[in-house]
């Protein structure tokens, strides 16, 4: 066996490489799939706010049972999957209702104790509270409300329960001594709870203070029960310890805990007095991850399966060539009475090891490639995993390799001895449709019809490009030779020797048929993959633009009311950006129950800065809503469905939250940065009718992601008492969308496309090597017949180029048409966007570029191979017997 392998070492290496490529495809699918799933878990947990991914358990309000509970009693309720949780932090929560000197509204906020809290803040003055009713407040709050260390602030405690006479005693008060000030630190430890940023923010009823931190003893002893006083347990998720499996286990545990807490009628009194609420969004996050995993199960196997099938087809061609080359060895075995079984064994013993030789390297390449992608491409820290899926994929790949080898071997081993004695396998002349081809054409044609009629949908629809290209490729393969023969004959009659003979040469070669079919399938895969990638990229860009609205959007807040805030903002923007070209203020008013929101904008600057689609409102539309007299109806651009009053009359929210009459001057498919139902009005006109109230938000929309300018504006506003509370950038949102299984799956398309073209190159080479001797004899005969050397040298390249050109054209068409059929079923987003900005139109420039790329690579290959064959066309070839 070894001597046989050594004898054709080069061929063994090529076969092993092809088998390695097929195995790599098979093994890579589950590895990449799993790595994407792990990355999706990491990204989902990383992007989720701490309050969503961590676990908080609250005890009941002490006022319900008139008894305080120990937070340590809640520790046993932390789920069994506790290794993924850090050591729980115990605490107490309460709400205050304090009176501050100089503030004419009650000041409300949170009062907390957390075990070890002072190690996770920066104390800027005074000390950590260590006695009952001592508190430490934020430095900002001390500044806003002019609080000093040593002062005592008084707050209402909880309203006492009714006494025996059904009288409610007077609500007690509690005096808290300020012992220090702090700056928030270690945000993770605080599990996303907001310690600061509230001081100074006021509503019509009250003002707010930042979180006060106190000593544990405040929640015991002689302190009366406080407002909404509850024990608390918080535990942070060890995100690095959570993978797909842990996530699933955790979800089950948390759902059980939630059910236990929610099932009040069956709870024991002890449970009721210990736990009342579980706060975490982990089950929801798990659902998000599950949805992504489902998407990966659609895209990855189907992309790689199509590539794998192309690989198997090329391997089949290689093995056909290899077994044809061993016909004389089969004859030797058969002549010595070994029969077909003996001949089969002889070939299998030589070819199967060559094929299987590629399996381990193929698996190794898949492992290395997936590891590199895991480490360098995918976000998160997906671990190295070898799971059952990999074993199954390898077994399937090996089974496919063995079957293909067996089929190729049996084909020759079973051939009658008489026909085996011919050194070259006989070819059937003329146009014939082999049974295998007929079945493949019929099956793929049926599949195409099913797609077009819509009876085949879902994940299987992703096979459309492959099926379509197989159908078209095989049909072309059977139509091309007679067409080329007819055209070649006509050209010869007209005296165009080279073109005519090239076509005739192409028409009589079996290589032409195989080439056109293979090139069609490979080009279709490449073009389809590129289409998927470009369309996915485009739609994530559109979704990001729709979600954010502008390159940067900053929400602002202040202790003052909305009108003052807006006035301050407008003044600062006028100073920093007089032409309103870089930033614009937007006031958004939304009904509390949702519905149609109103965006009040400066039409001129908003038009320039907001990321509308190309078919968005025209300059004329924007002019139509620009500042006019204070009258109703207000001219508006609408998107979605504002409530109609009359035929031409709308009702939209005014900036004060009260409905006004409006007049639609234009409609937009979507308004960036907002939901599906939006009305855009001119801010000047709107303000003449109603000033914004406290439910209206003010945001700044920046025309470019210029951190320096954004910081300048934010800093200047902060100086004026208006603070940025939330900043969203287009690039961040885009990154978030890119970090999804849907996007990663489509990136795989690039690998598939490149590999498909590579496989086609290998196939062309194999086909050329297989038939070079016969072609060389044909060419030598032409030379003998007086055809010039240069003409003869160019003939094979011309004959090879024709099927390649036709195949690439047909393949590009199939890939584009396949994309039309398939893209609606292709998962583009982890979660469907709120406003659908999807654009599934075919990216023709990308299709053209991919097609040209295929043509360049395969065309050059065909020409080089043609020239190599032409170089062997010496006259002495004619002495070789067939």
């Amino acid at each position: 066996m070894l001597s046989a392998l050594r004898y054709r070492a080069g061929q063994v290496v090529v076969i092993a490489l092809m088998s390695a490529l097929i195995t790599t495809c098979a093994a890579f699918a589950p590895l990449y799939d799993r790595a994407m799933q792990q990355a999706a878990v990491d990204v989902t947990l990383e992007n989720a706010p701490s309050v969503e991914r961590d676990l908080q358990i609250f005890g009941p309000d002490v006022n319900w049972f008139q008894v305080r509970s120990d937070p340590a009693d809640m520790v046993p309720y932390v789920p069994d999957s506790s290794p993924v949780f850090q050591t729980p932090v115990l605490g107490h929560n309460a709400t205050t209702n304090a009176a501050f000197v100089g503030v004419y509204k009650p000041v409300t906020g949170e009062l907390w104790w957390r075990a070890g809290q002072c190690e996770h803040i920066e104390i800027t003055a005074g000390s950590c509270p260590d006695a009952s009713r001592e508190i430490i407040v934020t430095e900002k709050e001390a500044e806003v409300y002019d609080l000093k260390v040593g002062m005592t602030v008084t707050s209402l405690a909880a309203e006492p329960a009714m006494d025996a006479d059904f009288e409610t005693p007077e609500t007690p008060t509690v005096g808290y001594e300020i012992v220090g000030t702090y700056l928030p630190a270690d945000e993770d430890w605080w599990q996303g709870t907001q310690l600061s940023g509230l001081a100074g923010i006021a509503s019509s009823e009250d003002a707010q203070h930042d979180a006060w931190l106190t000593d544990e003893s405040t929640f015991s002893g002689d302190t009366p029960f406080l407002i909404r006083e509850r024990s608390w347990l918080g535990t942070r998720l060890r995100t690095s310890a959570v993978g797909v499996d842990e996530m699933a286990a955790l979800e089950a545990d948390l759902r059980r805990l939630q059910d236990r807490v929610d099932d009040e009628p069956r709870q024991s009194l002890e449970t009721k007095q210990t736990v009342s609420q579980v706060v975490t969004s982990l089950p929801g996050l798990t659902e998000q991850v599950d949805a992504q995993i489902e998407q990966s199960r659609t895209t990855v196997p189907l992309l790689l399966c199509q590539l794998g099938l192309l690989g198997v087809l090329v391997l089949w061609l290689m093995l056909r060539a290899a077994t044809d080359q061993r016909r004389s060895e089969v004859v030797v075995a058969r002549l010595r009475g070994r029969g077909t079984a003996g001949a089969r064994t002889l070939l299998m013993r030589e070819l199967l090891p060559a094929v299987l030789l590629g399996v381990l390297p193929g698996v190794a390449v898949a492992l290395v490639a997936s590891s590199l992608i895991r480490v360098y491409v995918l976000p998160g820290e997906a671990p190295f995993e070898v799971r059952r899926g990999l074993a199954v994929a390898i077994v399937i790949a090996v089974a496919a390799l063995v079957l293909v080898t067996y089929a190729a071997v049996v084909r020759v081993a079973r051939e009658p001895l008489g026909s085996l004695l011919h050194r070259v396998a006989g070819r059937r002349p003329g146009w014939r449709l082999a049974a295998g081809d007929a079945i493949a054409i019929a099956a793929s044609g049926a599949g195409v019809v099913a797609f077009v009629t819509g009876s085949l949908a879902g994940p299987a629809a992703l096979a459309a490009p492959a099926l379509l290209s197989v159908f078209v490729g095989l049909t072309l393969a059977h139509l091309l030779p007679p067409a080329a023969a007819r055209l070649g004959g006509t050209l010869l009659l007209r005296g165009r020797l080279r073109a005519g003979v090239s076509l005739l040469d192409a028409s009589r070669s079996v290589v032409t048929r195989r080439t056109v079919a293979l090139v069609t399938v490979a080009s279709a895969l490449a073009v389809f993959s590129v289409c998927g990638l470009v369309v996915g990229d485009r739609n994530r860009a559109l979704a990001a633009e729709q979600a954010v609205g502008a390159p940067v959007v900053v929400e602002v807040q202040s202790a003052t009311d909305t009108v003052d805030r807006l006035t301050t903002v407008e003044k600062v923007l006028a100073d920093l950006d007089p032409g309103a070209r870089r930033v614009t203020a937007v006031v958004r008013t939304a009904a509390p129950s949702g519905g149609v929101s109103t965006l009040a904008v400066d039409p001129d600057s908003f038009r320039r800065i907001a990321l509308f689609a190309e078919d968005g409102p025209s300059r004329k539309d924007w002019s139509a809503i620009s500042a006019g007299p204070a009258r109703e109806p207000v001219p508006a651009i609408t998107s979605g469905g504002p409530s109609e009053v009359g035929a031409d009359e709308l009702r939209v929210l005014g900036l004060d939250g009260i409905e006004q009459k409006a007049e639609r001057v234009a409609t937009a498919d979507r308004v960036p940065g907002d939901g599906p139902n939006v009305t855009v009005v001119d801010i000047a006109t709107a303000r003449k009718l109603a000033e914004p109230d406290s439910d209206s938000n003010v945001s700044l929309w920046f025309g470019s992601d210029d951190p320096v300018f954004v910081k300048l504006v934010s800093g200047t506003l902060a100086h004026e008492g208006v603070y940025a509370t939330d900043t969203r950038t287009l690039s961040d949102v885009r990154q978030g969308l890119d970090a999804s299984v849907a996007a990663w799956s489509l990136w795989l398309g690039v690998v598939v496309g490149a590999a498909a073209v590579l496989l086609a190159v290998v196939a062309l080479t194999v086909l050329a090597v297989t038939g070079w001797r016969a072609r060389a004899r044909d060419l030598a005969a032409l030379r003998l017949a007086g055809v010039g050397r240069r003409t003869v040298e160019r003939l094979p390249a011309g004959a090879q180029l024709l099927p390649v050109l036709l195949g690439v054209l047909a393949g590009a068409g199939c890939g584009a048409l396949g994309a039309v059929l398939t893209l609606p079923d292709l998962p583009l987003f982890a979660l469907p966007p709120v406003v659908d900005a999807t654009d599934l139109s075919i990216p023709w420039p990308a299709v053209a570029l991919a097609g040209l790329g295929c043509l360049a690579v395969l065309g050059v290959t065909a020409v080089l191979l043609g020239r190599a064959v032409a170089a062997t066309a010496r006259l002495d070839r004619l002495r070789e017997t067939a």
């Binding site: 046989a4 050594r6 004898y7 004389s328 030797v332 002549l335 010595r336 009475g337 070994r338």
Partner: protein, 280 residues
């Protein structure tokens, strides 16, 4: 006696080529005694290679019967033919390399050829001994690429003879060999024929080879056209009474010529009827 006899009766074989039927053999009756050394002669396309292939059981005749020893090859099943080829009938194809596994040494080739027979329980000599019989013991483990054409042909013969067959069919075993190698190959074949009683039938174009053989049968136009024994050329009367004319006589007697047989002193004279003779 190891040799196997050959008997064919009305052997006909028709090829289908380019939509036409071509008769390669048209009623061949041939008898070869066990242990005989004979040659099949004839021009290209006369049907001798087809006859050889039919005798070896490579394909079935269109009509007629073939007996090799007690086996009716023309009616044998594939399994029986495999068994026969594994143990009793060896064919040596034209071109020594076509009979050998290119990557195996001479010894390994002989061993490979012997495997099926050994599996059938037949006791066979080791490959080295077979190669020694053919006078090439030193090449046993040498790569085929380093053998001379003569040595290569002897290895091909060793492969065929390794199973101690009763019939060896050799297609042009001396073509492409120099005189020395040709004579050596013929000597070895004759020796095997003498030593083991193996029936040897070989196809040749070479008059020198034909002269070496005690019996030759000439195939012409798919029929037995003549036979040579010890340097004498004979026409052979077929089973149905036809008598093919020798080549040089056919030139004188074109198709349609009328002839008479006259018995003269224990032999026959063949007298053509010339135009105008009757008029005289």
């Amino acid at each position: 006696m190891n040799g196997m006899s050959i008997r064919t009766q009305g052997l006909v074989h028709i090829y289908h080529a380019d939509g036409h039927d071509v008769a390669a053999l048209s009623g061949v009756d041939l008898d070869v005694r066990a242990g005989e050394l004979m040659g099949l002669l004839g021009p290209s396309g006369s049907g001798k290679s087809t006859l050889m292939s039919l005798l070896a059981g490579l394909f079935r005749p269109s009509a007629g019967k073939i007996f090799v020893g007690e086996h009716e090859v023309s009616a044998a099943s594939t399994k029986e033919l495999d068994q026969l080829q594994a143990t009793r009938v060896s064919l040596i194809l034209q071109g020594a390399a076509r009979n050998l596994l290119p990557y195996a040494t001479p010894a390994a080739n002989v061993r490979f050829a012997q495997q099926a027979a050994r599996r059938a329980g037949i006791d066979l000599p080791p490959p080295g001994e077979v190669l020694a019989e053919l006078g090439i013991p030193t090449v046993a483990d040498r790569p085929l690429s380093r053998l001379t054409p003569g040595e290569l042909q002897l290895v091909a013969m060793a492969v065929a003879l390794g199973t101690r067959p009763g019939l060896v069919l050799a297609d042009e075993p001396t073509s492409q060999l120099d005189h020395g190698a040709r004579d050596l190959v013929l000597e070895r074949l004759a020796e095997i024929n003498r030593t083991h009683g193996t029936t040897v039938v070989l196809v040749t174009h070479d008059p020198h080879v034909a002269a070496f053989l005690p019996r030759t049968v000439t195939i012409r136009d798919g029929r037995i056209g003549g036979e040579g024994r010890s340097g004498e050329e004979y026409a052979v009367v077929t089973a149905d009474g036809f008598l093919p004319l020798p080549g040089h006589v056919r030139d004188d007697l074109p198709p349609g010529t009328l002839v008479r047989f006259h018995p003269v002193d224990g032999h026959y004279e063949l007298v053509p009827e010339r135009e105008g003779v009757e008029d005289e």
